[in-house]
Symmetry: D2
Subunit: 490 residues, 4 copies
């Protein structure tokens, strides 16, 4: 059942993979919801469609607010934040649900809340449950009523049916039934809970703020609230945190070798975040260095496709010795959606957002550095703009290997047929885009850039790189059920 | 858990009992949701806070829209109604939930929807489930997750847990667990369902429109869509209606003697509705006639307190021979709520809504006819306005007996202590209001006016009159649990 | 130049003449703007499209707020009213401008403000300047820049060009150039000013509130603020009021015999207002009495067309001895406009607003009393509803003579061709409406009802009755210029 | 008089000089208003508070729309743009008025429109009229009524009072009375008009699009509509453009040596615009080169203060050989204003917008390159963030000379006392900011970077650089009247 609320998402941002969620939680600080709002603002790049916060206060109980739109437009108002009192709160920003075909509904906006016999709990997650459809079917047959189309609601229902006596144990019970790639923040009346799936595909970090604690998808959100970064929650770890007793670590899952999402390094995470003690910015810059080594070309200018290509372009320029310059300028005033746009606006596409710095480009052999090629639609338009401006040559250099497979772990990817690299060779893509050269970093090069000096271990890859390799560390069983063709074993 | 959305209700309308809901459904007509919107507009007096519609279309499945505010401000727009296709739809308008302390949340707005293994169903109800708290507790213990604070959600969960194979039978199962006073409209993918509780406390009528059928709280909503009034759904009856096979009647409950809400005649229903083959307007006029017989007084003018006192005033004037006149004029442009009103607005009270027709009132002995006295706050202010305008005498005549007991069957009543008649005798009330005389119609007089020639049968009253008599036909078990003191048996 | 802001007005209210404005001003009370807001709320029936308030405070200067929509939805908010400090304020509600073809723009919303070399002044008016087009043309030729399409802006420009030293004298200068029917409230930094045109066509009354003074279109707005009614501003009088020195009366115009608008008695004014020491309600009731005497008919029920026909119906019933009853019930929840309504809503027309009390009407010979017939479109629909409900006969009785001429004095009337009475005889109208009889009160009967015992003086009529008689007391020169055909002199 | 509409501007953007307006016009293309909307979107950096468009269509006349907020949120909607038909349109984006103390009112949003006896004209301007107060006083004394607090309205009134027969000649008349620095786009029913003041302080360029023409503040807005850049309108030139006859050039002013605003090169213009055949980006990069030459320092990292410091930082890094890196990351989701923000939000300041890339900064000697220092408030906060992140040293390098004087030519500058450089020496500033070194580019260095090989000509400077030098090319007479102290002649 759908409930109409939101205009369709912006048509010009659709040529990127999209991280679907950011999560944040805090315990042991006054006005916890305010900190959550700030944290979510710092995580806004992980989901711009909607956000929600749940807080708990001993007197006022659980309170929540869910809103479409940016955190800064909703969760900054004195009047709203007053309704979210307490020293314990969690929140969520989202892009859209894997499950929903069309529009998001406010009831799909997390955190979800459930009232159990021993009290209430709220839960928010980042990632995807790959057996959600099967679980949902089973739960409905046993009499559960789902309020949303979000697969994370399964966790709440599994918890409701657990025979355990307290909520953390019920959550353990529930998580053992769940497959996929997910990080979770949850809360009871007194506890902040964090979980990462056994492979640790999606990120989750722990921070310390005064006498309290914070959980966040990325470290950049710890910075904004002035929290100190403590460590990553480990793959397969569940932490139960109270203001007075601190962090209790539990291992609900069978141990496995970790497979962190390598695309967090490439694109999803903010460059000022730290993953595994490495600056994301520095990793991206290093990708540019590797790319320059692997795919040199004679040119006059290294130019980033703003803003995500910038660090790799800086690295490429530095390594190649070719001058770095801003050949494409981004309009700062682009937002996300238009309501009933004029025909002309609809046809403008990327030109509403980007303009070529004609005087700089003119007559030059230009290396354009972008983070990835998904459908290739934006790349074509950018190439046209660059050529219109009088560039002598256009060379695309891509800071990730060809994206040939969809992600089923909480990232919004087009269907496989729409991925340029799924149907074309590198050379066909070059021709399709109409550029003088097109080169991607190798998978090994990417692994080197993220710190694996000897590259990818083909027997047991250190990261989840399914979008490049087609090797899915967790079987996407719901999708296979729906007919998705896995890569044939070699 | 509360989700802040709405300003508190208007402070000047609070001196009335409030019907909490209106329900409407239609099957077998193109664009069924449009008909539901019109029906709900005609039922708006039964609930002004919010409304919702669910429709079903074979291709597009179930769709819903829920909005705060008037039907006419939401469900008239082409753009919204397009999202609700199909030939089957139900809808609901609501005032507020018995259960909620403060503000309504959009997720409390009916109809509710549940996905069962054999398909979805939507349900809306008018009335109250008196064992809802106990049921809810039991269901939560068994693992149900509630999405709202509304007690009607119990029905959906009971249905989800039923072992029956089809939805109507699951609903029968569910309704047998439920106590209270309620009318229900529900729908599956193909069926429109209507139910009245065994005592038939709340109304529900059946209408025919072209080849289709309609269910409505009142006949006035059949008129607006051009439907023909067929009959009342009987107390304890469940009708299952399909476009092709028509109306199937089922009796899920043990038969009982009916106890229709007598206050529907006095105030809740619209005067142009028909209840039990009697015009509500005519009944109210007849109440005025009885009132004039029972409580005559010498005076110069019979004046209604607008608008609900008007028909009884017309009857009183006719029977007494005293001229009828509009001594109080209502401002047509009053709405319901103010957001952050100025101090002055807050203090204006009833003067924002009513003004005295000074030239008519001056020097006259005035009989004011009102439908009821609840807290008495408005009555006092009206008396002051009338005296300020120079009336020689003020006589209140009330078209219902003293309201001394709260209603637990879907009507918003103040706590017992706030009811003027619960703590004062008629004479104390007269003094409290500061009027020359105050008289209420007798309970027998009221029964005569609604057509019971020999008055109320004290052994087995023909109506539910608990608000006057304290005799509750269904034990309000949740409230008793919370400490409500029933009237001692005599 | 048009500036799009508002949806077109509601299509179902268009079968009435519309008063275009209400004006209110107050001096010498704290938070004067709050009093103006309340006064405008009481005058909302005179204009529902938009409202504006200007206040002055010695420290904060002039401040204004203009808003589309009802007074109660805008000028009740603490936050807005705080921006309008001071002890002197004026305000205005409006329906629409005579001049504008389509939509109103916020800059057309009065009061208008002008900065002169000796200080600022704000002005609001009710009525129409009949030589506005000519004045405007002249002023533009001399270099004035108009900010609105409203003809009252002429007054500000004439004042700006006056050679007088103070604002009241500049206003006198300006008003002497202006022809038409108008009442004005204006303010300088210290003075509240009121003016009525020489014929006194439009109303304006004076009230006393504490140490301050109020000016209002009607007395009902004095009641709401608790002000005492002092007297009418006289035709051709200008009052200049200061908090300390009180009311100074000036006569800027050549004296003429007054010609107050008789339609204020019939329809425009609120029934609880007093005009010339007569209650409007009582006058309307008396119109019903005269109507019963002039146009008797055998019938079973006298039924008002709500709400404007009610007092006359009460009078008719009383005089004729036929029972009075509410055969038509109004939906309280109708507003004014729909944005992009569905086809079905568009076709509903009057049924969205009115329903027949079928049980009362059935089988009866019904006398329907309405205030006027303009286009006749609503009358036809009401007749159909009444017959559908099974009435045996339908007799229309109209509380005003046939409306055969447009008003050019601040009232929104259709073009002459659209007025039913302009093109049909009474008998043709009866046939067109399809009723058993149709009768209007005579012009003499109407004059008797408003207190002129010997009826209308044909040599020198006591009222402006141009809409009935075609005798215009002020030549509508702009309209004649545009081709309007005056009635031939007899 | 003020009319409340808008929350106060965002408190964290206030440490920049603000260009106050962008203007755009187009003639000879279908749906001209759509092109204007796109152009204004590209000029949004010149004014984010509000925007307006006026179009003319032979049948539908002049139409306008004015809205608060971004162009993209208003002027992209099909429904709004349909109301602006025609092949001729002009538009304006604005930041705020020099004159207004507090909030902007919708009536202050340009373009302004005036109806003259020979037809209407609309006008929008960028810049400031330095004798506006005196002109306004004179015009009011002669009977003009001002509708706004904007000084550009003077031009319309002067035109209205001109004795010339056609609008372009009236505009010439008006402009000769006006002093200051301004560029104007205007339109009659058939003509698009552009004017630059005699010194050419503010920019205006001409473009060709198909058979039509465009005028724009900057070339970047020609790019977005696909127009070809033709040339700059020359200082003191007035162009009158019709679709069929093309561009007619007029010289209404006495010729003077041009004094273009040098700050357009430093900060106001978009880097992808071209001024005087030079890319703004390239100029800024060159400023960085000059700065590196003038103010070398040993360090490990050159880091821009995003985004305006980026090109100069690239130049500085290139020239100095010190690696370039993004040490500060901007949150893409910052907007401009908060309504009733929480205390915490209010205190966050720049941290809501910027975060330090800790891993990159840690232990490094960092050169921060920013475009200017105004109040110094943001610079201090950035320095703190950098030191908190563990930088070893912080060296500020500023791509403009010390800003010691306010601009009176259409730029929003703090009062002189608030400018850090007005009250402190460079060394005092360094101490105040608490950095290891602080150096500004020299005025000569800046002149060299913009292409004046031999630097600034002190006898007759090539640019307006009053904000640095205190030498005002046009006397700011209104401000002098108000007490502003000009720099003593040396």
């Amino acid at each position: 059942m759908s409930d109409t609320q939101m205009p369709p998402a912006h048509p010009f941002d659709d040529d990127k993979l999209k991280e679907e969620c950011g999560i944040f939680g805090v315990v042991g600080v006054t006005d916890a919801a305010n900190f959550v709002a700030l944290g979510l603002h710092a995580l806004q790049h992980r989901g711009q469609e909607a956000g929600g916060i749940v807080s708990h206060h001993p007197e006022h109980g659980f309170n929540s607010a869910r809103r479409f739109g940016y955190v800064r437009d909703n969760f900054t108002s004195h009047r709203l934040m007053e309704t979210l009192p307490g020293e314990l709160a969690i929140g969520h920003v989202r892009y859209s649900t894997a499950g929903s075909k069309g529009q998001t509904q406010i009831r799909d906006v997390q955190p979800f809340f459930g009232e159990f016999s021993m009290g209430g709990a709220a839960i928010a997650h980042n990632g995807n449950i790959t057996n959600a459809i099967a679980l949902r079917k089973e739960l409905i047959e046993r009499g559960s009523i789902f309020q949303s189309s979000s697969d994370s609601e399964c966790i709440i229902h599994l918890m409701a049916r657990s025979l355990q006596r307290n909520i953390p144990e019920r959550m353990e019970d529930a998580l053992r039934r769940v497959e996929g790639a997910f990080s979770v923040v949850a809360m009871t009346r007194t506890k902040l809970i964090g979980v990462r799936d056994p492979l640790g595909v999606r990120p989750l970090v722990l921070g310390k703020i005064g006498d309290g604690w914070a959980l966040s998808s990325e470290t950049c959100a710890l910075d904004i609230i002035g929290a100190e970064y403590v460590r990553e929650i480990e793959p397969g770890e569940m932490v139960v945190i109270t203001a007075d007793k601190g962090v209790d670590s539990i291992r609900p899952f069978r141990p496995q070798k970790s497979r962190f999402c390598i695309f967090e390094h490439v694109y999803f995470s903010r460059p000022d975040s730290i993953i595994g003690d490495r600056s994301v910015y520095e990793t991206r810059r290093q990708i540019g260095v590797e790319l320059a080594r692997e795919t040199p070309v004679e040119a006059d200018l290294v130019c980033p496709v703003p803003d995500s290509g910038t660090p790799a372009a800086i690295g490429y320029a530095h390594e190649s010795g070719i001058p770095y310059g801003m050949g494409i300028i981004r309009n700062q005033y682009m937002g996300r959606t238009f309501i009933e746009p004029t025909e002309q606006i609809r046809n403008m596409g990327v030109r509403l957002k980007l303009n070529v710095n004609r005087a700089l480009i003119k007559g030059k052999r230009v290396i354009l550095v972008d983070d990835s090629v998904v459908r290739g639609t934006t790349s074509r338009k950018i190439k046209e703009m660059i050529l219109d401006a009088g560039a002598a040559e256009v060379h695309f250099r891509i800071a990730s290997p060809p994206t040939a497979w969809p992600c089923f772990y909480g990232v919004d990817t087009p269907q496989r047929e729409k991925l340029l690299a799924a149907t074309m060779s590198e050379d066909e893509m070059r021709e399709h885009l109409g550029v003088d050269s097109l080169r991607f970093i190798s998978l090994d090069g990417l692994y080197r850039a993220v710190g694996e000096a000897s590259g990818r271990d083909p027997k047991s890859p250190q990261y989840c790189d399914a979008c490049f390799s087609g090797e899915y560390p967790v079987e996407p069983s719901d999708m296979v059920e729906k007919g998705f063709q896995m890569k044939a074993a070699e």
